[in-house]
Amino acid sequence: MLNRALLADMIGDSFRIIEAEDGKQAVAQLQKEGTGISLVLLDYVMPHMNGFDVLELMNKNGWIKDIPVIMVSAESDAAYVERAYELGVTDFINRPYDVNIVRRRVMNTLMLYQKQRTLMGMVADQVYEREKSNNLMVYILSHIVEFRNGESGMHVLNVQAMTEMILTHLVRLTDQYELTPEDISLISMASSLHDIGKIAIPEEILNKPGRFTDEEFEVMKTHSAVGADMLDDLELYKDEKLVRVARDICRWHHERYDGRGYPDGLSGDEIPISAQVVALADVYDALTSQRVYKPPFSHEEALRMIRDGECGSFNPLILQCLTEVAEELKSRLNRGVTGREINVDTLHVTDIAADAEASSRTLELLDYERMKYHFFASMSNEVQFEYTAEPSIIVLSDWGDRKLGLPEIVMDPYSDEAFLSVFGQANIDKLNKMLRATTPESPTVNMEMEVSVDGESRWLHLIAQALWSDENPPAYLGSIGKFIDIDDQQAQLRDLQFKAYHDPLTEVVNGAFARKVITERLGEDHGAERSDDRFVMLVCDLDLFKQANDNHGHQFGDKVLQHFADLLQESVRTTDVVARVGGDEFLVCMECPPDPRPLVARIHSSLEGEIDGFPLSVSMGVSTTDGGVRDYDELFRQADVALYHMKRTGRGGYVFYEDLTDEERGSLFEGGHTALSGIDSDEDDQ
């Protein structure tokens, strides 16, 4: 404590100083802040992990390259100093502390790293510019050939893009061909030169619209060997890798896997893999492009022709690659200007970014990403985490630690009491098992878990991704992911669903919901063994309800409706449907015994009575599924017609639709109104 305070005091307040009590906390901070940390002052003697353990981890994670370390120590044993330098420390500060020395060493190291970063950035920028110029030169050169051929430069770009795609896929599929990312990039670039030999072909043959004669075809075929010779004859640079690869491609991109190509009749893997892939890309693009002698074929047709061997035979592995990148191919090729930019630039930008010696550009990008990540993490309603297996540390997003009541950094979460009491041992074990059972190809895990926050149980949805190393076999490094609190979500959803389906006044369901549920129940029975189930539907209307509103006010009216809704619900089973379908119109639908009449009579009588001196008189229309009607709308219409009849002939009772005569059933429509409007006008007469 005093030790760190003294150092901090000496360095001064022009730096932001993060203190870590021990090795593990130091690692956690490094993980959290990354290159946001400009310098580490590291002691050797610490609890949990000592200074060398921290250094070893910084090496393993590649941090030591970007973050300088000054070792602070009272030790002066030569072996100890040697080991520290081996592990990549930049400098030593020996105890006892001397203010001037501490300040000097800190400033020197910071400046050294700053300079190094600037220089690295400059080199990276220059390499990038050079690469870009190279690409441009190759592109212009190949365009000249195509220009003479009366074609746009798209062919070359398409072949280049496709070569890169197939090769990239090929190395994922097999280690039979030893190709580094640099090799693939080089072959893709060299592929642009595959047709340079065409410059020596007479124009009348090159651009002949119809079929070649045998003689003409023989001349045309010379372009592959001629192209190779042109490169072999280069005075300078002919041993450059690019030139050698381009030469192979020029000479052999018309060879075929079965040995029936030209000029040398090579077969199988006698043909360099570069030429094999370019040959396929060349064929595919020729098929899908317009030529003077043919229209373009569709992507699908081209694939079919290639697979059926109509364009000669190809390496089955490459054909497999073609099949597997087919979708990507379709979307990436022939994209005009955008496609061109992708081909000229992106390859090499990624090459630089992938380089372990990160340039300042990459570091800035990383810092930017980190900032973005923290921002979104703090905005979102989710708990995000990063977990490293070695050492076992979990870092929760700022917001997350408050939400779960856990600290931001938890060491050894598998044996941390607070952590386990929130997540539960069983959940954590299960998650760990699931993550370790993933593969680098499909590293994602979804899990729902019940956790306990401040003694309250909550449901979280977890999406996590396991991080695997590039080694073979891959090692489990840890995981990243987020917890989404679905408790809130589900409560909200339930609330919304309730609102969507319920009448806010009486809290019985509304017409829309009743229709949905009843339709389902009626439909359920089709073809099932319960097909003899019978349903009865009651449409109920409060007589004289308008008077309640007019004479006692709307509040009283509402009270009557609520009371009526309660009565209805009490008089049926909870599984039966009670819904408010209009102003004072309610619907009941339930399964019923063979004779529904006693049931209907009971319900009707239980509804009659009075509330605060206001007489409750109820008219009901009844329909049943007995007639074979199993359609909601028809059942409702029948019950509504019966209700209308009831209202016309005297209130306070019920009528079954099946008891009405045809005339009574039809009379409803004489006035040209619907049942409901009929009732309304009826009440107006009161």
Binding site: L2, N3, A5, D9, M46, P47, A74, P96, V99
Partner: protein, 120 residues
């Protein structure tokens, strides 16, 4: 003046410390912070519990801090003790037999330092 008296009382080396830490304010500030340092307690507790790794860390910290602040007798006593407690690869202290003799010296020097700082 009181800083000089305190250092004289404990047999500390104020001049060298001034050369390294530059200002009396800083020396005084950290001398007082030393009173809250828990390394001595850590050392005592760990020895009591037989946790020699922890005891070594306590002695080691005491040694480093007393050296930084020029508490010479405490530095010398804790230096000897931490050497005796230093663990080999097998995890056993280098010279456990010497500890009963060295520990009282550390206590004595520590008490002297604490008492001396109290007069600043």
């Amino acid at each position: 003046m009181s800083l000089e008296i305190a250092y004289a009382a404990m047999g500390g080396d104020l001049e060298t410390v001034r050369g390294r830490l530059l200002t009396d304010e800083r020396i005084e500030k950290f001398a007082k912070i030393f009173l809250q340092d828990t390394s001595m307690q850590t050392l005592e507790n760990a020895l009591e519990a037989g946790d020699f790794a922890e005891a070594f860390r306590g002695a080691h910290t005491l040694k480093g801090v007393s050296r930084d602040l020029g508490f010479t007798p405490l530095f010398e006593a804790s230096c000897e003790l931490s050497d005796a407690l230093r663990l080999d690869d097998a995890g056993t202290p280098a010279n456990l037999a010497a500890v009963p003799e060295l520990m009282p010296k550390v206590r004595e020097a520590y008490t002297l330092v604490v008492d001396s700082i109290a007069i600043i």
